[in-house]
Amino acid sequence: MTTTLPSVGTISPATRLREFATNTPNAIALREKSRGIWREFTWAAFWDQAEAFAHALLAHGIERGDRVAIHSDNRPEWLFTDLGSLAAGAACMGLYPTNPTVEVEYLLKNSGSRLLIVEDEEQADKVLAVPTADLPALEKIVYLEHRGVDAYDDPRLMSWDAFMAEGRAHRETHPHAVEERMAEARPEDLAYLVYTSGTTGPPKGSMITLRNLEFAANEIAGDRGIVQPGPGPDDLIVSYLPLCHIYEKLFSVVFNTGAGVPIHFGESLDTLVADMRDVQPTIVQGVPRIWERIFAAIQVRLASASRLKRVNAAIWLASARYVGRTLVRREGRHTVLSRLLLRVGDVFLFRSLKDRVGLRRIRYGVSAAAPIAPEILQFFMSIGVPLYEAYGMTENCGVATANRPGRIKLGTVGEPYPGCELRLDAETGEILTRHPAVFAGYWNLPEATARTIDADGWLHTGDVGAWVDDTHVKIIDRIKDIIITSGGKNVSPSEIENTLKASPFIKEAIVIGDRRRYLTALIGIDLEVVSEWAQRHKIPHTTYRDLSEKPEVIKLVQKAVDAANEKFSRVEQIKTFRLLTKELDHEEGELTATQKVKRSVIEDKFGDLIESMYR
């Protein structure tokens, strides 16, 4: 061998990728399903693409610290852009595929991105709708899909193939240029600008550095990380949450380049269930909404099965309830009996249920980004899906707390990571964290940064928490969301909302009651589940609105509300509710890009409906 290993700058996902390409060039790094076939990328091919992208950036004069934006669904090119930008010393900024033109304009302008990758005509149209003069920093728009965009004549447009060809040509003439860039990398370099979705005010760009990522890689995906035994090339992850969000980055980038876990890209978001079934991933990252949907899908499946199957299901679900209670009581540790019941139940029922939704081989499932109802966690645990709730945020690169195998406390978000200092503010109960993954601040917002990171380096999360048994942390709510009723009682709306959403019929719940005499709720039904229910009960219906106005449906939801009310004290009970007559939507401003409800918008938009509950 005459090749010498390139000099290593600061360790980053890019250097880790290069290492995999050197050490195990022919092992699988990524798979993508397209036209019905799973296609593979080896580590060597992955690095070849990322490096060529980095060369293309250099060819276009991208400097260290410049921002490169991408507006696309998850696909391999997303990671080529991400890792290629890191290799070139640039920072990658992702846009949500659902971002409408006004937000695209804001994010590009605010970040000063010099280059934008767009997936297709739809995303190209959004940026091209912004007058060129309003985006002075934006020099190039590189498109992945040719359909439609080929016909446009904006001089900034360029195809991905042409862009990559320039990168390869640059590699021919300057073979060491990217290597040299990588050697210049420093821990404090900006790696990502991650815009927080902002339930209030415009999005803020969180500056994530290489040091942040390296710490997160060790704490989350390392040997003492959340997955035990540690993750590796035999694991499988499906990439499907928005890649511009820190949560998916931790799995698609950090688990991939940090631990060598192959990442899978399905055909589209619509085919997620089929893709999951193909892959049967071992590690599954989900937000509560996803777990709620899988839960609802299983319930619907069981309810519409034949009589014999329903009897079989009833027996094993009863057994599962025992297993679930045992596991909850014993913090996730089995007894001999519970393990036996689970094994036998697996043969008769659970294995086929799990197989259908792609969870047959799961060894670690995580729910984060929003609170999840304990009932849902317990259900999954009871059928042998190891699901853990964890907590983190963009500003601490996702590193705060997690429940761990054998040390689960339901209703908490778990214990702080070994390397994470965590304390509660003595006065407000706000959760504060301090560790090397605390971000570098908000992009161009020194005041907001100073409000968030104090002089001692503590990150103020904005979440109110409480200790449980001195080891686990329970999240009460966002500080600003806490409801103070006119009787002076503090109520956490999200806890009530999650209990409501544990019903498969309820998709959305917004509890109202700040400075009011009693609590009420706006509730959105789950169209799929309720429609299926209505069909079984022979209730003819047409649209979402029509279904929501059926007296039978209102009665159905009332039952779910009554059941939820039983779990709360009098002041925390929902006195009355109204059903939303439309599905909430990101493009109409009711949800954030991460599908969180924007309370102020809802309270404004449905003001009359809310007032009608207090008359």
Partner: protein, 283 residues
Amino acid sequence: MVVVRARLLHEILPAAVADGAPLLEIADVHLAFAGVKAIDGVSLTVRRGKVFAVIGPNGAGKTSIFNCISGVYHPQQGSIHFEGADILGLKPNRIADLGVARTFQNIELFPQLTVLDNLMLGRHQHLHYGTPAAMLRIGKAAREEARNREVVEGIIEFLDIQQHRKSYVAMLPYGIQKRVELGRALAMAPKLLLLDEPAAGMNLEETEDMARFITDIRRELGIGIVLVDHDMHLVMDLADTVLAIDFGRPIAAGTPREIQSNQDVIRAYLGEEHAVADPGGSA
């Protein structure tokens, strides 16, 4: 491994040179059923790479024209030439073999088959192997099956129906069935595509999707398209030439703009009382 991206239609199907050359020429066609005139002297020319629309009230004879072109009806008088050759009197399957594919006003798919199988059936005239090879799935049969599957997968991708690939057609929503039918017509690798009310019964979003598909087909394949639809916005957006008929008789032909402001068309199609909104059209 190279990066995979959506294939353009001309990468999977034979494309035509969109040179505007005449593809289908119909001259003075008359069709009557037991004395009732269904088509009364219609002439039209469809050109390569162009969209030709036929509009008219219900029962005006639009679908009858389609049935004459595809060989279901045999007109008593007139001529129909496809690529210069006389096709009048040919059987429907022979005309299909020449490269004329169609969709139907009321979807005509095999409801008990999957989307994939329906589309593969659209490829049947591109299969060239015998029964023994087909039964054993060996040699040529296996190779052709794989090649045709690739074409079909490209069409599935184009129509964005991956999630329905293995679903039975009968279980699918109407709008998706319409897409599948368009897909089956495409699978035949046509030179001329006849679309009978492709957007009928669709909501706005589905109609917009369909319009996009038609635009892309025309741009990427350069084939001729004949379109019959009630959705005036769709017709006016997509068509290069419009022919308006009433009681089987042509009443006007021209660009969408000319047709929109034509008094006879407004009377026949939009109703007597319809106010003329176009300032250039009324005097």
